[in-house]
């Protein structure tokens, strides 16, 4: 490329800036990672920087044997999978019919849906609705109220619209109905957008805590992992294991917190890099039409 022919120093500067940025993004997470298996004494001495000191897996065993924590992890994993499947189904059902230009009432339905993106009723009206539906303090409040994101629906609609109409028309001539066309033509061509949106929904559910905090405060059994973590980090709650084994000194509880944070973080950090190519395309698509 001609671009890099002159000014080698410029290239070095750019690389230097990027290295700094990588460190800024990466080191905080790395530091908690190494803290999670350093010994409590080293944490109290504040000796732990970039490498674990006196490697010690006690925190991990304690976290893993804590039934409250492991149950929350398992429950949130099930919740995330279930919600993602539900959301993807609903989003497809919503986006696919709207690409048929002949569909009567399409403009109205589009407007009806888009309006909810710009104007929402607010927290209290939502709360009162959930209350009248009997959803307060029930895990259903974590599943249904936010199961379609209009933004994600638009991404999917745009993607489906970009698939050539001629494919659909030839299928129609062969006598396929719209459902058949969706299943045998559109969905197989849409794996990238399906992967992207599944990631968005799954991350949203896995990382969400405010809906449980507001609408399900008394049902501790079904607290999602992030709300449990919030209570642990804010020391409003300590892991059972910690209190039993006299593990409540500051350094030890720090190691425990770090281990608890790592368990909730690692699943997502292992998944997202593999989907990078797809979600870049997804975000770009959403931005063009959003």
């Amino acid at each position: 490329m001609i671009k890099s022919k002159h000014s080698k120093w410029g290239d070095y500067l750019v690389v230097f800036l990027c290295v700094i940025m990588i460190l800024v993004f990466f080191l905080p997470v790395w530091n908690v990672f190494v803290r999670s298996f350093s010994s409590p004494q080293a944490l109290i001495r504040s000796d732990v920087y970039l490498w674990p000191v006196d490697i010690d897996f006690t925190a991990y065993t304690l976290v893993l044997t804590d039934t409250t924590y492991t149950w929350a992890l398992l429950w949130t994993a099930m919740l995330t999978i279930g919600c993602t499947i539900l959301s993807m189904t609903m989003t497809t059902l919503c986006a696919y019919p709207l690409i048929f230009e002949k569909l009567r009432g399409r403009k109205f339905i589009n407007g009806f849906i888009m309006l909810t993106m710009y104007f929402n009723a607010g927290t209290i009206p939502n709360y009162l609705l959930f209350k009248s539906l009997g959803m307060i303090n029930s895990p259903t409040v974590l599943i249904f109220p936010y199961c379609i994101s209009v933004f994600n629906m638009i991404i999917m609609r745009t993607f489906l619209q970009n698939i050539p109409d001629s494919l659909r028309e030839s299928a129609e001539i062969d006598g396929a109905n719209p459902v058949r066309t969706l299943i045998s033509i559109y969905l197989p061509l849409s794996t990238s957008v399906l992967a992207t949106l599944s990631l968005f929904y799954a991350v949203g559910r896995w990382n969400g805590y405010s809906d449980a905090l507001m609408f399900m405060p008394q049902n501790k059994t079904y607290y999602p992992i992030q709300l449990l973590l919030y209570n642990i980090i804010q020391s409003k709650e300590s892991l059972d294991a910690a209190t039993q084994e006299g593990f409540s000194t500051p350094g030890a509880s720090d190691a425990l917190k770090a281990a608890a944070v790592m368990f909730a973080t690692i699943p997502i950090l292992m998944i997202y890099p593999w989907l990078q190519r797809y979600f870049i395309a997804g975000v770009t698509l959403g931005a063009m039409k959003g």
């Binding site: 490329m1 001609i2 671009k3 022919k5 410029g10 290239d11 750019v14 690389v15 990027c18 940025m21 993004f25 990466f26 997470v29 530091n31 908690v32 109290i44 504040s46 609903m90 059902l93 919503c94 019919p97 709207l98 048929f100 009567r104 009806f112 849906i113 909810t116 009723a121 607010g122 927290t123 209290i124 009206p125 009162l128 609705l129 109220p145 719209p178 459902v179 896995w206 990382n207 969400g208 405010s210 992030q226 973590l229 919030y230 980090i233 804010q234 500051p250 720090d254 770090a258 944070v261 909730a264 973080t265 997502i268 997202y272 990078q276 979600f279 870049i280 975000v283 770009t284 931005a287």
Partner: protein, 316 residues
Amino acid sequence: MTSIAQSEKNLRRYRTRMYLKRYWTLYAMLALPLIYFIIFKYIPMTYIQIAFKKFSITKSAWEMDWAKNHGFQYFIKAFSNKDFYNALRNTIMLNMLNLILGFPAPIILAIVLNELPYRKFKRFTQTIAYMPHFLSWVIISGLALQLFATRFGLVNTVLRKIGVDSIPFLDDSAHWVWTYVFLGIWQSVGWNTIIYLAALTGINPELYEAASVDGASRMRKIWHITLPGLKSTIVILLIIRMGYIIASDFDQPYAMSNTLVTNVSNVLSIFVYNYGIKGTQQSLATAVGLFQSVVGVMFLLITNSFAKRLGERGLW
């Protein structure tokens, strides 16, 4: 005449029947999503009237009595409430700081990434830069505690070792604001570059080649080719951000807050939560939420028409 009209009518009926026969499945598919939008998005809108009414647990929203002052009692009450002013000020202050410092950040990062000559390294940098977007605010606040806590935090430990006094990043209001803004940028900057990087791929590479032939320096190329290529994306994103100047996120401020800094960390969403869900002032909280929504929509309309007057595409 009548027979022609008759047959036209028959034809139309036939077409409708054919249309429905072919497309009824589409309406069937839309049924569930539309029921969802009606129940979870439109029915709550009928509860907005609570802002103008005296809330009562025993009555439905339609049966409640109107509030005093032509129904505006709770708006007046909000505007004479110190907590509300505080929350409004905090919301606008944090959003403004986030806009001023956070808006240019992804543009700069995207330009830097675009200048990287090594593809694999660029991809790696991107992957790392996207990571914070996938962390929840609970986790980020946990990281912040480990890094910035006054006594045991990593940064303060290092500062003490080199003989500088500890900085109360999270325990003092003024410092907390900057930590909040910094973490907001840290979390979103990488993710927000995606759109700019996509816009950059749309720039014709011949422009850069021509500029190189003319002997333009790197900075000149950025100034005269890259930035103009990003202009319309920047304007649209700026509109969207302006529309959200009064919107308030709940997850970040609530997760990062602590008892020492509530005077700056209580934003409108937390106010609504404290008064309407933890407390029992549902009407007041609904009024505040409605105020927030209406002002938000107004901001969006204003900035959008402003952008159109400047000759940009706008949002719609």
